[in-house]
């Protein structure tokens, strides 16, 4: 495992440089937005990565909460299985919005549930909490990048830094929730911090659809100067985007890997320190 890390790091570096070249030189220049559109190759992969990390955090948090009780674990596993079946059925039986393929819905449903079981299989007990810490923190880093590159793109293209657009605002709220998640972890004085944090993550996940929905309605009531959208994407652009996404995913895995090891070591050190502190001589009354 340890030898794998540098190999993976070198591969990621190579992939990132190729992706950068593809983004800056390889991809064609967009007609209406010009060169600035190339921010897109950094902005969008970062956003997808951040959302994926937050999703993993949510699954890990649920896992942690139900993992405290074997009965709850069993119930949750059945529910997860039922959700997978329900998404597949819904994908093929219910009418879907224009342009959404049933296979896409079915695959994503199965993927999320599969991820849940993968986490359960490979991250038992306390490890799942380490995973939650890691993904939340790295997710916030990526989300911060999304929030900064977003306005840098919007300013030259739309003429404004910020608009209360659905995606922008939802991302901002998600960022706020996860910053408060990290704060809670830092300020907690409980020996059961993971439980508190996991509960907050579940609340955050419940909040996101409500945020998305409310802002969506809010925005349709207040038309904003959002331009563009629609139309098909140049295949070379799509290629560049996907390469960049792959590169950023690898980079995220690399960072998570380091963070994960750091957290494991910190906890070990804490335990050793705690036991050592007890051994210092003290006197009976």
């Amino acid at each position: 495992m340890k030898r794998l890390f540098p190999i993976f790091a070198i591969l990621t570096a190579a992939l990132l440089s190729y992706a950068l070249y593809a983004a800056l030189v390889g991809a064609p220049t967009e007609q209406t937005m010009g060169e600035v559109q190339r921010i897109f190759y950094y902005h969008v992969p970062s956003a997808w990565t951040a959302f994926l990390l937050f999703a993993i955090n949510f699954l890990a948090s649920i896992q942690y909460l139900v993992g405290m009780n074997p009965k709850a674990t069993r119930v949750a596993n059945w529910i997860a299985g039922a959700i997978a079946v329900a998404t597949v059925l819904a994908a093929y039986l219910l009418p879907l919005p224009e342009g959404v393929r049933p296979s896409a819905v079915a695959t994503s449903g199965i993927a999320v549930v599969g991820l849940y079981f993968l986490i359960q299989r490979f991250f038992p007990e306390q490890k799942v909490d380490v995973l939650a810490v890691t993904t939340a923190e790295v997710g916030v880093v990526f989300c911060t990048i999304v929030l900064i590159t977003g306005p840098l793109w919007a300013r030259p293209v739309w003429g404004i830094w910020w608009t209360w657009d659905v995606r922008l605002t939802s991302t901002l709220v998600l960022w706020l929730i996860y910053v408060s998640y990290i704060m809670l972890r830092r300020f907690s004085s409980s020996s059961q911090t993971p439980v508190l944090a996991a509960a907050l993550a579940v609340f955050g996940a419940l909040d996101v659809p409500l945020v998305y929905f409310s802002i969506w309605i809010f925005r349709t009531q207040h038309p904003q100067p959002v331009v563009g959208g629609g139309g098909s994407i140049d295949p070379r652009m799509l290629h560049t985007l996907l390469i960049n996404w792959l590169a950023f995913m690898c980079f995220a895995i690399l960072v998570c890997w380091s963070r994960y090891r750091l957290e494991v070591l910190t906890r070990d050190a804490e335990e050793t320190a705690a036991l050592e502190a007890m051994l210092e001589p003290r006197s009976l009354p």
Binding site: E35, V36, R38, I39, Y42, H43, S46, V138, V141, T144, I145, I148, T149, L152, W153, R155, P156, F251, V255, S258, R259, L262, L265, T266, A269, T272, A273, E276
Partner: protein, 41 residues
């Protein structure tokens, strides 16, 4: 065009700063481990 470079710069600055904090935490942890091992002997 400036915006493009600004965006790229910001992205990497944030990543590097975060990696820097990770590195700092690592070194601090290593020091502590060393100290703990010493007291154990």
């Amino acid at each position: 065009m400036n915006f493009l470079y600004a965006a790229y710069a910001v992205t990497w600055i944030i990543h590097i700063v975060y990696l820097g904090t990770l590195l700092r935490r690592y070194t601090r942890l290593r020091d502590e481990m060393k100290r703990l091992n010493k007291t154990e002997d």
